[in-house]
Symmetry: C2
Subunit: 223 residues, 2 copies
Amino acid sequence: MAGKSRVSDAVVRRLPMYYRHLRELEKAGVVRISSQELGERMNLTASQIRQDINCFGGFGQQGYGYHVSNLKERIAEILGLRHQYHVIIVGAGNIGRAVANYAGFPKEGFNVQAMFDVSPALVGIDVHGILVQPMEKLQTWLDTHNVDIAVLAVPKSVAQEITDQLVAGGVRAIWNFAPVDLALPEGVAVNNVHLSDSLHILSYRMNEKELCEALDAGKQLGE
Amino acid sequence: MAGKSRVSDAVVRRLPMYYRHLRELEKAGVVRISSQELGERMNLTASQIRQDINCFGGFGQQGYGYHVSNLKERIAEILGLRHQYHVIIVGAGNIGRAVANYAGFPKEGFNVQAMFDVSPALVGIDVHGILVQPMEKLQTWLDTHNVDIAVLAVPKSVAQEITDQLVAGGVRAIWNFAPVDLALPEGVAVNNVHLSDSLHILSYRMNEKELCEALDAGKQLGE
């Protein structure tokens, strides 16, 4: 992808955090903020903040800091939040329903238009104004609509197969909640929410101190 | 934290992915794997794999690759997956219920013992064998149990206040689903699942090519 390496993954991961904090500052009526103050809020150094923002051309003035609303708008633009997206949700279990119920998404242009599930117990229910359709209807939907984003909230065993169907049907991005790394063609975006990975990182952090002390003492693991 | 800087965040984030892939390899009957082959599966270079694993002392033999089951066990140990954890879930909405229903967690030692919610519509319901209790009972639970992990699945507006209560009650780790960065004392672990951040990263990736081409062409954003 042309120019893809320009922005590192670490910076991309921080962008939504900038957006959140700037939105809160704007709401609180703050007009300008220095990289120092923004860094303190976000647990980053001032130089890290300046470096991150410089990836996109830099929007501060030496000695004046950043204009909160302007910087927020630029970051919203960078994050693609100034478009409208046609979203479908595949899988109407707890996760699928949680996404459908998330009040903030429509305001940001993420418009859920349809939900699908295999379970007869879920087909026909109304989730936040969206009727859950049977999975057999998915193909017809893809044939007749331009879907930007599919939320994949299905069991691991069927995740790749459904993904292939979605990609063949023209879906541009998969928001993947299945605990599997999907194979995708170039040009289809993906971001994973791997709940169990996240819990494992938490348990790592709970035990990190002990682990590092053992490693520092030269102990071999598994001994 | 002593020795904390030993392992970078990027490596920690990859550990659960190693664990998942090694578990699948083990299930498929694979006994040994080279860093090359493991790298291809995980979209990493062989040298990246060796470097990651060397952070923890390295468990391979030159020319023989890694023993799949051994390496999986060592990584499980590093991730703290060989302990039993007492888990409570605060907030019994879709997210809280999704976590409670996640069949894999008890097998890994994460045992949900109680759920709490403010909503009269949710108090008293049974989620995967756990009765949802009213929030007023949380303090009594904390006073009478050693809670390792609290799953925080509540609105942003009350997240910090409940966190303070949990920390004062001796909770060692917070798995945070509220869209806010919590203030926590040293020694309390946290990992965030910020759904809206994740969706923003996805929309960034959908628009990355265009954005980077514009930046490469020297265009200023917001013009």
